[in-house]
């Protein structure tokens, strides 16, 4: 696995993808080592905020040694990031965590599922799943969708919106059912209720699900024990029913989770 580092990354480009959703392309030496589903810690310049903001890698461009971050502005850190301009430098820590186990999808019907700001990490995931039949099901609140046309390049793309303005009205499970999508393996990222529903659905249809979780983090590297999730079995590192999302995850086999 690639060594983690904290290093300044150069902003190559930036932009607004949808209301409140921004992207940054950053040049960083570890780009080539990134596995989809991994994340980076992004440090605000604001000296009153000291913790890195965990943001998933959305896409990798090995040619430019660059990673793409797509994020929603929700607080002071992300607000600051949205002001960066090309050629600015931004401090990042990465690559962090383990990505999606792409090998488990080999030759299978795989569905990548994202909800809201869980959509971004699945783009690079879909792109790398070249030896599987890939469907993508992405859930949004409304017609302010983002990245959806890019998924079309690598997958059969389906959309669900809460208000029904685009695609299936409802959630990603509704969309999967409505479109009768074949599904052996699921890679998913999104809010907890969506992940719970996916776990249940996978159980029903006998598919494997790998879920990317979120939790408040401090260190991002497994040292502080801030970001745990409950596990079914005793975890090998913690010796209790807790796994660290930042290092043991963020992607977990749904069967291992107590959620």
């Amino acid at each position: 696995m690639a060594n983690k580092m904290k290093k300044e990354a150069k902003v190559l480009s930036c932009g607004l993808l949808a209301e409140g959703i921004y992207e940054l392309w950053l040049e960083t030496p570890f780009a080539k080592d990134v596995v989809p589903g991994q994340f980076v810690g992004v440090y605000p310049v604001n000296k009153a905020t000291l913790l890195p903001r965990p943001i998933s890698v959305c896409e990798v461009d090995t040619e430019r040694s660059a990673i793409r971050l797509v994020y929603r502005v929700v607080g002071s850190g992300t607000a600051e990031f949205s002001l960066y301009q090309p050629d600015d430098f931004i401090m990042i820590l990465g690559p962090l965590g383990n990505g999606f186990p792409l090998d488990k999808a080999k030759g299978k019907n795989v569905v990548v599922m994202g909800g809201g700001i869980g959509v971004p990490p699945l783009l690079e995931t879909a792109k790398r799943l070249t030896d599987a039949k890939v469907s993508a099901v992405m859930g949004y609140r409304n017609s302010e969708t983002f990245l959806s046309d890019e998924f079309e390049k690598y997958s059969d793309m389906y959309i669900a919106t809460e208000d029904g303005s685009v695609g299936t009205k409802g959630n990603v499970i509704d969309a999967i059912k409505a479109n009768d999508i074949k599904c052996d393996v699921i890679f998913a990222c999104g809010p907890m209720p969506m992940l719970r529903a996916i776990k249940a659905y996978a159980g029903e249809i006998g598919a494997k699900a790998y879920l990317s979780l979120e939790e408040r983090m401090a260190c991002g590297v497994g040292a502080c024990l801030g970001c745990i999730t409950k596990t079914k079995e005793i975890d090998d590192h913690s010796r209790v029913h807790n796994a660290r999302i930042c290092t043991d995850g963020p992607v977990f086999d749904a069967d291992d989770l107590e959620m």
Partner: protein, 299 residues
């Protein structure tokens, strides 16, 4: 130029340590810093049996720092000895094990198990604000502190450091109680109890409601307490609380600390400990300090 410091007969190559609970047992941060360069690695608190800790969210950011309510999650002393201590034994740095418990007996069990281990000192955490049973109760009452210190000292094979809570009216009194009971050193400060409320969700930022505050925001309180403790007792002091760089470390040393520890700032910058080691040497060169022990308590 000398950066070596001595505490209870143990010599440290420099005064820079890791603050318990912010550095695991060194494994995670060994990807970033050379543990051989540190004065000591102080491990995350370990109990007699595995503890699951508190529900999440366990951490929250605040102005110039953070709150945590990990609740002393730990794998228990057995795994700790097998895995963590054997990992640390490969490095040329001192090892200080932070010990926690719910009852005096819990502490004693861990202390006894560590008796024949390659451990240089024990740090007794009687000041964690995030677990309901025991812990901080010992650290907020001088008689209870005296009592637990005495009982641990009787059993301990290694020198003991009592880690004091800042959530007290008089840190000097607590320091004196620890000294009177035979503590070889004291360390301070543990976190200050704080709270954050999300006014839009109308709920606490931490599942535990309160958490321990750490980071640069608490530094002035920590420096003051180190100064007060240094003027109250004769045993050495390990100072911590918001140290971000070598200048902060020197400030604690001038307030009276023999050694210092870097805590939450590891999360801001995983290279912090090593930078502090290098920065102290630079300061000494620039300001013509031959021996780090010269400037201890100099104000």
């Amino acid at each position: 130029m000398n950066t070596k410091v001595k505490i209870a007969g143990v010599e440290f190559k420099n005064p820079v340590m890791t603050a318990s609970g912010t550095f695991g047992s060194g494994m995670e941060y060994s990807e970033f810093v050379d543990l051989n360069k540190l004065g000591a690695v102080v491990t995350k608190g370990v109990a007699n049996v595995p503890w699951p800790g508190n529900p999440t969210p366990r951490v929250a950011e605040v102005y110039g720092g953070m709150l945590n309510a990990i609740g002393l999650q730990n794998p228990g002393i057995d795994v700790f000895i097998d895995r963590d201590l054997s990992f640390l034994s490969k490095y040329d740095t001192k090892v200080i094990v932070n010990v926690c418990g719910k009852s005096v007996e819990d502490y004693l069990e861990v202390v006894e198990r560590l008796g024949d281990q390659k451990v240089d000192m024990l740090e007794i955490n009687v000041s964690c604000p995030n677990v309901k049973e025991g812990a901080i109760a010992f650290g907020q009452n001088k008689d209870a502190l005296y009592d637990i210190t005495k009982r641990i000292k009787e059993k301990a094979k290694q020198p003991i450091i009592m880690k004091l809570s800042p959530n007290v009216t008089s840190i000097a009194e607590m320091a004196k109680a620890a000294e009177a009971a035979g503590a070889d050193a004291i360390s301070l400060i543990n976190t200050i109890t704080g709270m954050k409320i999300d006014i839009y969700k109308r709920q606490f930022a931490l599942a535990n409601k309160t958490g321990g505050m750490s980071g640069p925001a608490i530094k002035p309180v920590a420096v003051r307490m180190v100064y007060e403790a240094a003027h109250a007792v004769n045993i050495p002091i390990i100072g911590m609380g918001g140290i971000a760089n070598a200048e902060d470390a020197i400030e604690f040393i001038m307030a009276g600390a023999t050694a210092i520890a870097v805590g939450a700032m590891n999360f801001h910058d995983p290279y912090t400990t090593e930078k502090v080691v290098d920065g102290i040497e630079e300061y000494m060169k620039k300001c013509n300090v031959q021996d780090i022990n010269e400037i201890r308590g100099i104000v």
